[in-house]
Symmetry: C2
Subunit: 203 residues, 2 copies
């Protein structure tokens, strides 16, 4: 877990309070959705003073934005399996396991719903995905160095293509989210990348 420099000592009281409050905020979001989120309730769940929570997070959007920043900080490092398909499959399985997990799936739905009606939450959500995409983009850069994909392949677009079918199922079509779907998403992105679909020459 990375922490912004100077903002707190990892493992110190501030970090412990933040961890407890964000855990409680996640629990409350999973139980009641963003419209049931209440700072006083979160403080009580986290066994932290209400004043601390109001002073530090200020509002529900402030709290949800910090939860998303924490999720980005805790995002797992990329794989390095030696092949584009191997790396993208590892990424797809990670996303699939997260979204298919009962708690995490509901949490992601709740923060995505929250982002549709609050600009600050939307910015934090976009930051979360930018962080994840940045973490995994080097898999595509490595594939380009190995000659697996054209050198002008857009790495971020390939990483987005891996996650997209999984989010589409979670949020739109409601179709099941199993491991086969994750493997298919990775294989489709790798195949399209090899064919140059994500190279800058092709739009």
């Amino acid at each position: 877990m990375r922490t912004p420099p100077g903002s707190m000592r990892p493992g110190g009281r501030t970090a412990r309070v933040r961890a407890a409050v964000l855990r409680a905020a996640g629990d409350a979001l999973v139980e009641n959705g963003v419209h049931g989120l209440d700072l006083a309730d979160v403080a009580s769940r986290a066994q932290v003073g209400k004043t601390t929570v109001y002073r530090r997070w200020g509002s529900v959007p402030g709290l949800v934005a910090d939860l998303l920043d924490d999720m980005a900080e805790q995002s797992l490092p990329r794989s390095d399996t030696g092949s584009l398909l191997g790396d993208l499959t590892a990424n797809a399985r990670l996303v699939q396991r997260t979204l298919a997990d009962p708690r995490q799936g509901v949490l992601f739905k709740a923060v995505i719903a929250a982002a549709t009606c609050d600009a600050r939450t939307a910015e934090a959500l976009n930051r979360f995905y930018a962080t994840r995409i940045e973490e995994w983009a080097p898999c595509v850069e490595a594939a380009a160095r190995r000659g697996e994909v054209p050198p002008d392949t857009d790495p971020r677009e390939v990483i987005r293509a891996v996650s997209a079918p999984l989010y589409y199922r979670l949020l739109a079509s409601g179709d099941p989210l199993d491991e086969d779907i994750a493997e298919r998403a990775a294989a489709a992105a790798a195949t399209a990348a090899r064919a140059g679909i994500y190279a800058s020459g092709t739009g």
Copy 2:
């Protein structure tokens, strides 16, 4: 526009009331989101008696579900350009234009957010996507008959693959949704389909 058999005479009073109420519900959703949706406000916007709205739709989830069913009924017919890439590109452009439209994009975000916290809305949302996928699946079946893709290709999965990157941008990453992105989504799905990624042997 198709209407369920026997439910109303198209152009009759019932159909006019429904059209006015659903238009007003859409306006209210775009302005205030689902948590600002109120049946009395919708009745007043539609210049329809409150009692009519309460009797016919009963609740906010009932109204949002009917709006989604109406969106499915009004879903545009599939293209038939003679090639898989042509058909998928037409589909991708249609989805991209819809999601990039200021009113429609906000409306889709609102109903997707509503579906994350209400089971009846989620069912209606899934029905909407099932209808769209069913409408466009014959493009893939025709491509299989022409020998463009393996005969055991899952048509629905190809159609989902076209929309997924566009919804991922709208709901998750926040990256721009332009025509190039639509063309790339169609090209990626067509390339992966031709390579057999959506054939049942590889799922």
